[in-house]
Symmetry: D2
Amino acid sequence: MKYEFNAEREFDIIAIGRACIDLNATEYNRPMEETMTFTKYVGGSPANIAIGSSKLGLKAGFIGKIPDDQHGRFIESYMRGVGIDTSNMVVDQEGRKAGLTFTEIKSPEECSILMYRDEVADLYLNSSEVHEEYIKKAKILLVSGTALAKSPSREAILKAVGLAKKNDVKVIFELDYRPYTWKSVEDTAVYYALVAEQSDVVIGTREEYDMLENKTNGQNKETVDYLFKHSPDLLVIKHGVDGSYAYTKLGEIFKGQAYKTKVLKTFGAGDSYASAFLYALLKGKEIENALKFGSASASIVVSKHSSSDAMPTVEEIEELIAVKA
Amino acid sequence: MKYEFNAEREFDIIAIGRACIDLNATEYNRPMEETMTFTKYVGGSPANIAIGSSKLGLKAGFIGKIPDDQHGRFIESYMRGVGIDTSNMVVDQEGRKAGLTFTEIKSPEECSILMYRDEVADLYLNSSEVHEEYIKKAKILLVSGTALAKSPSREAILKAVGLAKKNDVKVIFELDYRPYTWKSVEDTAVYYALVAEQSDVVIGTREEYDMLENKTNGQNKETVDYLFKHSPDLLVIKHGVDGSYAYTKLGEIFKGQAYKTKVLKTFGAGDSYASAFLYALLKGKEIENALKFGSASASIVVSKHSSSDAMPTVEEIEELIAVKA
Amino acid sequence: MKYEFNAEREFDIIAIGRACIDLNATEYNRPMEETMTFTKYVGGSPANIAIGSSKLGLKAGFIGKIPDDQHGRFIESYMRGVGIDTSNMVVDQEGRKAGLTFTEIKSPEECSILMYRDEVADLYLNSSEVHEEYIKKAKILLVSGTALAKSPSREAILKAVGLAKKNDVKVIFELDYRPYTWKSVEDTAVYYALVAEQSDVVIGTREEYDMLENKTNGQNKETVDYLFKHSPDLLVIKHGVDGSYAYTKLGEIFKGQAYKTKVLKTFGAGDSYASAFLYALLKGKEIENALKFGSASASIVVSKHSSSDAMPTVEEIEELIAVKA
Amino acid sequence: MKYEFNAEREFDIIAIGRACIDLNATEYNRPMEETMTFTKYVGGSPANIAIGSSKLGLKAGFIGKIPDDQHGRFIESYMRGVGIDTSNMVVDQEGRKAGLTFTEIKSPEECSILMYRDEVADLYLNSSEVHEEYIKKAKILLVSGTALAKSPSREAILKAVGLAKKNDVKVIFELDYRPYTWKSVEDTAVYYALVAEQSDVVIGTREEYDMLENKTNGQNKETVDYLFKHSPDLLVIKHGVDGSYAYTKLGEIFKGQAYKTKVLKTFGAGDSYASAFLYALLKGKEIENALKFGSASASIVVSKHSSSDAMPTVEEIEELIAVKA
């Protein structure tokens, strides 16, 4: 099955949500307590997906709120530098800061992170800063779950989803669950379900779908039965090293394999997966091919130091797929 | 047209949201500054509707949070006393208080009110306190808009609506807009639209629909066109002394007249209207007849001192309709 | 011993802190749950003391913040009506409400109360609203402990005390401890001690001094030894029906008796005590005589329905003292 | 004049307040937006002073709250490593984070900083975590003004100062004013004055004393006249490159010169000044000599990359003084 998009749109993808700062350990093979130097990158799931998309040659835009400080200026300047339209990035006027993620690189299996997410600027994007005339220029609105964790960002997202539906923009919901900020598992499920039921495509790990359904050890079949009663017609459920599954409303099931690679750290895999998967869909590739694009992109990023700067080109992805074939 | 409900349910109506205290001026014809004595009643739109329904002989239940104090005990005891099932009313454990509404009775046209709504117990009902096994016992879930104004009550309502939809319980959305507590007009519209689109019946004034649509001077035709694209199949739009209109998805329009009466104060009209209108629908009456029930009930309550204690019986309503015919 | 004041001052007493609304049960001998009518009075310890002082013929002023609503206007109008200078009462501009105290009158021994103190206007008086030119017009600055419970009222009080000290205004600290609002017993003790150490006269119950000293079962002797190392030179410690003690830095001890009366309710006793005691001091009476004034005033107020409106005249107090002599 | 301390104490100095993380630009001569790598150090004025003191051979202790994360463990481990007693450092149990200060090193004159101070662990030290038995073991309690900016840290400091006074521990107040966190200039002045009036020694810049006195262009003479009416008997007022002045209650005035050096960045100067000045006082040196120690230490730290790790030894300080003599 191929997935259809509205061809007459200026932007391939507009992502909405957080754009933050990653501070990745410069020294390898040690816990963060002993890491003395950190390297700065742009981070945050929807920002990474926009960056990844732009590096793949898609026309990307971003809606979000950034601080009025040195970190905020770096974020906007970096994103603009890779070709993203930043005209709808709002500069916070109330002294809020960029979210931070410190990472250690202890071993390929162990990479603890330390997040600063209290009162960060991105969670203060509000509904009056989301504009219909911008959203309706896109083929895809990419929404990440973390932006639902708190008001007023939550209402900004709900409004954006409503506007996308009204204007025939495909809503892609990358579940991107992070425990920070959310107040309860019950409330998380309420908003995840509300947005998933209105989306066209949902992408997440098995654990993230369990969060959405407020259950443990959920089964893909139940998830698929439930969500296909609502708007979605394509669901991607990722099972880590066991690969990922794509389900269509027509009843098709596709399995994607993870590509083995020399892993430096694990973070960044999901965002690179999403950007390459969406790239392939937008380019009219078959879903099984899109799964390969996602896996290849993820395997490239986990072998490198950052989650954003390391996003691959189409050539790199295709080369890896060819080598592994 | 008659409206169909699931006959096999224990409760005719379960209302969810606030149950508060009204403190109505005992002395008439003076501003509140000069009012020295106040009489206590149960108040709050969904509580009033539950009380009104119970007085009309319906089996009613209530989901809400009340304080662990003298006012909370009065509320629960009064509601239980009129026959409401209070088993799902939760007692707050964190020292929160009952909402208060002081009223003056200056003249039939002028009755200013003074509300205490900061950190009130009813806005702290949370999603874990809303139970599927209870909601699925009802023919109707009655939701009032004010409960959406703030978390965690907001999430409790969103969950309740989701459970009602899942279990074939009709969702009746009484818009009940109050400016207190809401943070912005934009956000108000986001949540009102979200719930209205999922409801079966929506009841409100023209001004409340404008709030939902985030516009001014909205037209009934546009409202009807918009909402009938979603779940609702019956909309009631009230135009004050000019009467009210009921629209069905089948394209019918019914007009209801306001009954002239000796008005003591204006508050309480909407809740008495809703309870009698729903009573009539549940009893299988035609919609035009249900509009008469609503108007008659409203006209009785505005001639009396309270909004809850004054709720009429079926006989009083039918007598007024007969007299005015 | 007589107590000396600066004679050349326009105001006998300026009180600072809360002015609120009391809603006293109109019906006697029943719990609040069954009380259906409430009568409105001005309340709040420093407001009551200002009212009591004014009724005794003293020139009183008041510094505080009141809401911009019907209750706020009633408070200002009532206080102005009894002769208090209200020029330094600030009207809140952020929608905050008046504190409320509902009372029941169940029996002379049992009168539970229900307070609304969340985000009340009086706790939002801020330091920029306290003016040196006003405070320096007074013989006495009357401070009540409850105003220390939260910022910014806390800083307003600390500033006022500093200005009083700088301008030779006697600081009278009525401990007036209420558990609401305070976050911890430790913090309560920090601020009570800070202000008590800087005051000239401290008035409170034995239990309130224990709170100040962060101990249980404190002894008057220890309290006196501790506080006389700092600024105070007169301490009044009240032991309920066992009467009260006044201690001077010179080593004198005076005992005051409680006057037996027909008690209607217990609240209001402390404020009437303080206003009459201070009246007597200001009029140059001996301390033992001032203790009688305090006791007589308290015994009159507990036999009546309100705490403010019931404040006695000098004649009533002197008559009672004469009768009981 | 020499300054006397209680000789019979286990600790020379116990500092109380914040211990945070500095992230100093690794690359020089560029704005922070273009700085890609940051090096981690312990930071925060009282932590730096404790570290500086310990490196000078003093027995130092620290009271503060650190996060239960990688940064918190680094802070505690680093401070313990330089010889500080960390037994009264409390680990936060509510997910709060370490304060962060990102610095750029653009030029010796321009070094902008970017602070993360929202809801940081150090501001949540509370009064129940300050223990009399610990404080009374010290010759000096070193208090920094920033810890007064917010409750509950504010109350912890007020309690600590009260305990120090009660137990004959010298209170040294390093004004350390930072605009973050404080709500108003008026409130800042209230608390600065409250603590300064109770301290033995106050150290700050001319601008910081202006903040304390809530004035602009304050004169040293007025400051000295005001504070010597209260507890302080030694005041140090710093005038940047124009040097610093020490005033004693006996009327002495001493002037200290700044030592010229190759400046890398300006931050860290105040903390190194304070630790060396206090070291000299504790070692019984004359005040004019102590001023030299302060200046020499400051001039060493501003020529190096960090504010904590760069703290000099006694030998380095004495060598610089000798060279410059």
